[in-house]
Amino acid sequence: MKRPFILGLLCFICSGQVYAANEVQVISNPLSDTQTLSADMLKRIYTMKLKVWPNGTPVKVFALPSRNEVHQAFVKELLNSNTYQLDRVWNRLAFSGRGSSPIVVGNIEELLEKVQTTPGAIGYLPVGMRVQKVLSIKVGQ
């Protein structure tokens, strides 16, 4: 019984870095061939209702953990929601059997790598982060 306690304590001590992010940029894999999205389409992608890009390539949705500040800023600024509501939408999809939720990765470096290497992938990063091999998507009204 000591093991769960010690494991939990170690995990708490080794919690990830905190990223302060006031602005977020949306990125996609080059195969999406998309550089602009409406706010409605972005929300439909992240609520798993829109599954293909305009060119027919399947969308692969990546996200950061709910506690991540970049994720929180993305949900608040670009999806006009909060992480609790979005988690609820994703969980309802899974537990109703009606769909799957985004692939959650551990940190922004991993998210960037996934978007670079996964055909049709979409993700988000802090503004100002230098990126290569991805498309930057402008989100309109």
Binding site: L7, F12, P54, R67, F95, G99, S100
Partner: protein, 404 residues
């Protein structure tokens, strides 16, 4: 049960879970990018005055015999093919539907994927699309409060929950708004005595309602020009027969006992700012065909139309804290000739509060003041609901953990 909750072993496990859940770096959120695991566990405390709820123990000091745990595995085989399976372990006092069940096991072929359409077919054990809350009714974070509105029939949950068969679905993005529909057909083997208690008042050896035939549909429309508004209509048709027939029950011969029920449910929801307003109204037409020997037995009436509705308002005070108020009514026998007692209907005022402690931990409290006993769950040893007081209160506290 109190021992389970307060034991030092349990406390250590819960504390470890709490620490782990605050450390996102440890999570492998997907087993592989295509394979995803979600789970939840919830523990409730329920207290009632005057009337027992699912167990006699809710009277007096209250009961901790209310808990549930779910495990959901989703495998995206290809962008259009998905496999989803879910197991649920549930205890709700002494109700017969307790235990471990396979809630969901389906193959989803989502062959229609365009910018304006999302459709396909699901085969296997699929959740029943009915109203806003049925297909995710067991997920604590998806429920409005600890208890669902009475028109979701917690008493006959196993009939409502899922169907073994086929489910066609489609969502269309139209100029006028978003239109989605579900059409499903199939059967379900009942593993509990839900219908025996509903229609025979007890579980007789050798006489069972084992199989349900189910067919239904659901339409939902969200107008484009009024953001946050949703309308839905759900239809659910269930048939079941007692088997074997004829069968000896308590000195009688049951020659035939066939149950057919058709539920019509209208739903509307409006979300604006931090407020969600919801109203749903149900009309159920129940047709029972029974034949007994001797034939002078007073049985369940042949036609039992039932009706119920609720009005609900939710307010998110902050992203972590939300409250809910709800008024609901349910009348299982609309024809006054068949009402067993003036207290065999129900209405209630509900108040609930939800606190998202962390993205994984949630605490809910729910209080309801009831008049009437129509939505009291039946369980072995309950007796007749007409024996109980008309006015009763229920209080529940729930803590849940969700692995996202």
């Amino acid at each position: 049960m109190l021992t389970f909750i307060t034991s030092s072993r349990t406390k250590k496990i819960l504390f470890a879970l709490f620490l782990i859940s605050n450390s996102p770096s440890i999570w492998a959120y997907a087993i592989t990018p295509e394979l995803e695991l979600k789970a939840f566990v919830a523990q409730d405390y329920v207290y009632t005055n005057n009337n027992p709820y699912a167990t006699d123990d809710t009277l007096g000091d209250g009961s901790f015999d209310f808990r549930e745990a779910g495990l959901n595995l989703n495998w995206n085989v290809t962008p259009k093919v998905r496999f989803n399976v879910q197991a649920l372990a549930r205890q709700e006092g002494e109700m017969t539907a307790n235990g471990l069940t396979l809630d969901l096991a389906l193959l989803d072929y989502n062959f229609l994927q365009t910018l304006s359409q999302d459709g396909g077919v699901r085969l296997g054990r699929v959740k029943t699309p009915y109203g806003f809350y049925n297909d995710s009714r067991d997920l604590p974070s998806a429920r409005p409060g600890v208890f669902l509105p009475s028109i979701y029939f917690n008493n006959i949950r196993s009939l409502m929950l899922s169907t073994d068969g086929i489910n066609f679905y489609d969502t269309l993005e139209l100029e006028q708004g978003t239109l989605s529909f579900d059409l499903y057909y199939g059967q379900r083997q009942l593993e509990d005595s839900t219908l025996e208690y509903k229609y025979l008042s007890q579980d007789y050896d050798g006489a069972d309602f084992n199989k349900l035939d189910k067919v239904g549909l659901k339409f939902q429309f969200e107008p484009a020009h009024i953001q946050g508004l949703s309308f839905a209509y759900s239809l659910l048709h269930i048939e079941s027969n007692i088997t074997p027939a004829p069968v000896e029950v308590d000195g009688l011969t049951v020659n035939k006992f066939e149950v057919q029920t058709i539920h019509h449910l209208l739903s509307v929801q409006y979300r604006f700012n931090n407020v969600i307003l919801t109203a749903e109204g149900m009309r159920a037409k129940n047709h029972v065909k029974s034949s007994f020997t001797p034939d002078n037995i007073v049985t369940v009436p042949e036609y039992l139309d039932a009706e119920g509705y609720y009005l609900q308002a939710e307010w998110a005070i902050s992203p972590k804290l939300s409250t809910l108020v709800r008024y609901e009514e349910y009348t299982p026998y609309l024809d006054p000739r068949y009402k067993l007692n003036s207290n065999y209907s129900s209405n209630s005022y509900n108040f609930a509060i939800r606190w998202n402690l962390t993205p994984n931990w949630m605490l809910q409290a729910h209080y309801a003041q009831h008049e009437g006993n129509a939505d009291l769950p039946a369980y072995p040893g309950l007796g007749s609901v007409t024996d109980f007081g008309k006015s009763w209160d229920i209080f529940a506290l729930q803590i849940s953990y969700q692995l996202n």
